[in-house]
Symmetry: C2
Subunit: 381 residues, 2 copies
């Protein structure tokens, strides 16, 4: 990790869900106010704001802060699909680490109910999308390949949903707070074989915020710091044709760099919030993040290793499958969860004694062409 | 200026205009290729890319670079309305100045022909916009106030268009390449009194790119560097009610900070590219940028001070009024022009002996509420 030490010192979010009448400022402002309050700082102490979103339109960060009387300094809106919020965090971290500023506000926000049916407006200029390769189709193909290659079945996918919903039931910020049984997951509506409805994250709306400070500034503050020991952002390597698409190259590479920055091993993690947009995704990311060997991911779920109370709980918040996935808000929501876990504020879903946690989002990778974005952050109490 | 020295080492752009059949990658890729070629570098030498745009949708930078086989490293998409491209430049500059990276690619791109009528999709949650305070109306009010306060008339506005079109006629990258007479400006269709059609910038499509390098990297390169001696990005201060809205607070404050960073006086500028979205805007920015005293701006135009061949040519490229204003592309297009001016590559529109130039964009300021973004860059040969 080069540059100065940087800490998360406050976090806020609204419960993710469907708020069709809410504006972007409505979704984000409560999160900003809570993050500022928990950091114990005043608006004039924020040197710059980074706002991650994909569908808010022009000057989203400015519109959010205008209503709070907080404009004046630099506000940068960052778009990186599912990594928009975490991409904004990455920019804020770099600005403080470099000495450019002392204190930054990071906002993540998006409103998917504006797209009535919940389908994202993908770019039809992509020939993969034009030929039907939308996200559920892509992940279904990955799931088929994975189950075939390693000899698992659809229940191995379904158990990921059961775990996610069990955690979400304990999280007041989760869109879904009702546990589901394996039988209920099996019985839910088919989407793209072998994935059915309860194996796909919901669409929805949300807002989240965190406050970052330099170590120097933390010393003059009463806030409880959680240190950023790695912040990595990459785009995917362009590769023509299909290769092994059950091992996402962008996450593998980003994770390797993150562990190196943080100078830790994957075994040092006490928990992880990962991008489980679909059940198969969580399993593939266990392997890409080196939480287990290739082909072993479903065993972690069966054995409870990644459940609350297990060796390395994954998505104690409920993850995208239960907490929800309002694109730009997702990464910042993960960082808020990580801050709360590492400061012991998670109530029933608390990972006991958590000292080190990882957050991971990735998006935009269509078919064999991972040209999207991946952001990995590692935080330490 | 804190941090390491940073230089622009290459630039490219397409002629701004109407390309209804072009995709975002189509608009940006030729500019990227030209910028890379003029910098004399290969794709693998780019450490990070910052892509400014307002209306490109998800992962615009990734989609542009994917087609060039240039993904892999961080790609950050930046939205800041008219300051999107210059905001992306500001992020790239900070990343190099801080030592985070050595070489960055900055892209600015937008396609306004996608909005058929050419009207921007403004955010109707803004009560100013909902009540009809769209951009031409706002600038018309500013114009009325300025003409009244300082005793000028509509011809003082119209002369700005005549100058812009004269310069644009010399610029192969300009959307409008036909000069206009004072009489033609007067006779053009009324838009919002006292502004008529030829006093408003056109909508259109465009792409532009520049390459930045650290001083250390420049030394190992054959490129011709132009040094960034100031890079400032601010949002507007939130102010309730109307104050003197012929002196744009955000530009005044950003300019003051930029001159201080660069350690120069406004009188040291050899030229400036300013945000002349409307004729009145150029005049107000002369004063906000301290090129003259309050109330004197129209005299600079009458006396030819800001014409090509004058003491400080403003918008030698033709500016937004003639070169065009494809939102996200505009700021990067200005930086490309400044790079070419400072390396003596501007042909008929060359500012003789130019050594120091300023670029200025600002956007999003509605009515009395300047909550937008302003970016000012000062470059020196």
């Amino acid at each position: 990790m080069s540059g100065r030490d940087v800490a998360v010192v406050g976090a806020g979010m609204i419960r993710f869900g469907k708020y069709p009448d809410a504006s972007y400022p409505d979704l984000a402002q409560p999160a900003v106010v809570d993050a500022m309050r928990s950091a114990g700082i005043e608006p004039h102490e924020i040197d710059a704001t980074y706002c991650g979103h994909s569908f808010g339109g022009m000057l989203t960060g400015q519109r959010i802060l205008k209503g709070l009387g907080m404009t004046g300094e630099a506000i940068v809106n960052v778009e990186n699909a599912c990594s928009s919020g975490a991409g904004a965090f990455h920019q804020a971290h770099a600005a403080i680490a470099s000495g450019e500023i002392e204190t930054a506000l990071v906002i993540g926000v998006d409103k998917l109910t504006q797209f009535a049916g919940g389908t994202l407006p993908l770019n039809v200029e992509d020939h993969e999308v034009a030929s039907g390769m939308v996200m559920p189709a892509l992940y279904a193909m990955r799931a088929q390949r994975y189950l075939h290659d390693y000899g698992y079945d659809a229940d191995d996918l379904a158990r990921v949903s059961v775990k996610a919903r069990a955690n979400g039931a304990l999280n007041p910020f989760a869109q879904f707070r009702k546990p589901v049984t394996l039988e209920e997951v099996r019985a839910s509506r088919p989407i793209a074989e072998p994935l059915n409805l309860f194996q796909c994250c919901p669409t929805g709306d949300g807002g989240a915020a965190v406050v970052l400070m330099s170590a120097e500034r933390v010393r003059r503050s009463d806030a409880t710091p959680v240190w950023v020991i790695a912040s990595v952002l990459h785009s995917g390597r362009y590769m023509t044709g299909f290769r092994d698409f059950t091992l996402p190259e962008i996450t593998v590479r980003s994770a390797k760099d993150a562990y190196e920055q943080a100078a830790i091993d994957p075994g040092d993690l006490d928990f992880a919030e990962v991008h489980d947009a679909f059940t198969i995704a969580e399993l593939l990311y266990y392997e890409a993040l080196q939480l287990c060997e290739r082909g072993e991911a479903p065993r972690l779920v069966v054995d409870g290793v990644t459940a609350l109370g297990g060796r390395v709980p994954v998505n104690p918040s409920g993850g995208l499958l239960a907490k929800g996935h309002p694109i730009g808000a997702t990464g910042v929501g993960q960082l808020a969860e990580a801050y709360w876990q590492l400061t012991g504020r998670c109530g029933d879903r608390q990972v006991a004694g958590a000292r080190v946690g990882l957050t991971h989002v990735t998006g935009g990778g269509i078919a064999g062409f991972d040209h999207g974005a991946c952001a990995i952050t590692i935080l330490a109490a």
